[in-house]
Every structure is written in C-alpha cells, then in structure tokens.
C-alpha cells in the first residue's frame, strides 16, 4: 500500500512595487557611485518585485494540500504586501542598517515566511526585474542574519 502522505513542494508568487536606492554610509559619494552605478541615483528608482515562496510538507490526506492557500495568502498580505507594497524600501526598519539590495530583501522575506506556521519554508526566489532574480534556500535564515 502506498504511503498516504507524499511530500510535495507548493510555490506561490506575490507581486509588489517599491522604490529603493542602493547606498551605504560606509562609502563616500564617489565610491557609492562607482559600486552601485545608476542604482545610487539620489532620488531612488523602483521595481515591480515578484516574490516566489516555496513551502514543503506532506500532502494532507484530508485536504490534499501542503498548506491552505487562504492561510498563505492572508499571511503574505499581512506580513509581506502590506509591509512592502508601494513603499520606499530604504525607509523601512529592516533596511535602516543594511543596503536595500534584492539579496538583503530576500533575507528579510525569508525571515518573514520562516514564521509561517502551517508549512516549512523551502526557498525564497525574488525577481527584481525580468532579468535579475535571487534565491535563498533552506528552512533556516542565514546564520549571519540571526540576532
């Protein structure tokens, strides 16, 4: 008899739009321009970000689901979209001390979805543009981010 609880991965994509500026106070103005190029434009610029979260778990025998999409969407709406959509990322608390690169955004998004209570986070994939994307894998945030 087959095991009734195969493990599957469920992925969901969310969209938000935000502005940012890549700049660090650790560099002078010339070095900021050299390192970050047009992303250092003092007035900032923006993107339509795509966040793709992947959750892993047994397919529940009663619901046929890894997790309830309604729960996941509600969690994303409260913790991701309401916090990030139509904001300037640089003004958010999580970017007070770190540069608002999409790598750092992926770490923050990973930290958020690692708290989703109904399934284990497997991967965060973020598309900054159609040509740039970033992935963070594993169920634990990177060690350096743990405080």
């Amino acid at each position: 008899m087959r095991d009734a609880r195969p493990i599957a991965l469920l992925s969901r994509r969310y969209h938000f739009s935000a502005s940012h500026r890549l700049h660090t106070d650790a560099y002078d103005a010339d070095r900021n321009r050299a390192v970050y190029g047009k992303c250092n434009n003092p007035h900032g610029h923006g993107h339509n970000y795509v966040v793709q979260v992947t959750l892993r778990g047994p397919v529940d025998a009663e619901t046929g689901m890894v997790c309830n999409l309604g729960d996941l969407d509600a969690f994303a709406r409260t913790n991701l979209l309401e916090a990030f959509d139509h904001t300037n990322l640089n003004t958010l608390k999580c970017f007070a001390d770190v540069v608002s690169t999409t790598e750092n955004l992926a770490i923050e998004v990973h930290r958020i979805f690692a708290k989703f209570p109904h399934a284990r986070l497997e991967r965060v994939h973020i598309e900054e543009t159609g040509n740039n994307s970033f992935d963070l894998c594993g169920c634990e945030p990177p060690a350096f981010f743990m405080s």
Binding site: L10, R12, R13, P58, V59
Partner: protein, 139 residues
C-alpha cells in the same frame, strides 16, 4: 547526467470537497473552491527527466516519444475533463495542485525509456504551482 524538461498543457474543471466533512466545514477550508458546480483552469505541466546523453543520437530521451507518453498518460485523460468525475484518482483524492502532481508522477514514472523521472511540476495558474519529486520523499 543532464535534465530535460518538456511542457504540456491541459484545461480541466474541478472542485474541492471532502465527503467526510459538513458543507460548512468544506466551505470554511476550501472557500470558493468548494463550489460543487466546479470551476476550471488552464494547467501547465512540466515533466523533467534525468539521464545520460546518448552518444549516437545526442538525446537524453526521444522528445517525440516523451511527448507521446505525456499525451497518452496525462493530456488525453485530463484535458477538457472534469477531474473529480472523470479522472479515477480523484474519485477519492481531492484534485488539488499537489495531488495532481502526485497523480501525474504515478502515471508517468517508469514509462520513459532510458531516463529517470526527476520532477513533475504542475501550474494551476502562473502564480501557483506544485512540485513532486517522487515516492521516496514521504512523511
């Protein structure tokens, strides 16, 4: 070892319902997907196989043969059908994207000559998909 992915599409109707629950419980858990009149999607299937490149043909797998297998095992059974009523697996299992991925794996696994089934990915819509990597990954 190289991976090759082939896509196929099918359009199907379904709804989510657990017979052992009350109507209220079904509607609470499954929301609008519990409407027993059903609704539908254009599904995209991605089947990834793993194998070695044949030194003569340069193929991992004959693409035409893989296309025919997907057509016979999946598309001809699922396309323009009501999953709950017309696809046997979903007489008992709820046709969620997760369970569709598992059902397709079981239909295709072992039928591809010279290559191993690596992943079945099913998109219910562009922003939602499920991956299944086989029976070895169980709870």
């Amino acid at each position: 070892m190289i991976f090759l992915t082939r896509k196929a599409e099918f359009s199907s109707a379904h709804f989510y319902w657990n017979d052992s629950w009350s109507q209220e419980e079904n509607e609470r858990v499954f929301g609008k997907c519990a409407n027993r009149n059903g609704h539908g999607h254009n599904y995209t299937l991605e089947v990834t196989v793993a194998g070695d490149i044949d030194p003569v043909s340069g193929f991992v797998v004959d693409l035409k043969e893989l296309k025919d297998i997907l057509e016979r095992e999946v598309v001809s059974v699922f396309d323009h059908r009501h999953l709950n009523y017309e696809v046997p697996e979903f007489g008992t299992a709820i046709p969620t994207t997760e369970n569709i991925a598992v059902a397709i794996w079981r239909r295709v696994d072992g039928k591809i000559p010279n290559a191993k089934l690596h992943r079945v990915r099913v998109y219910e819509m562009p922003d939602l998909f499920a991956d299944f990597y086989g029976e070895s990954t169980h709870a």
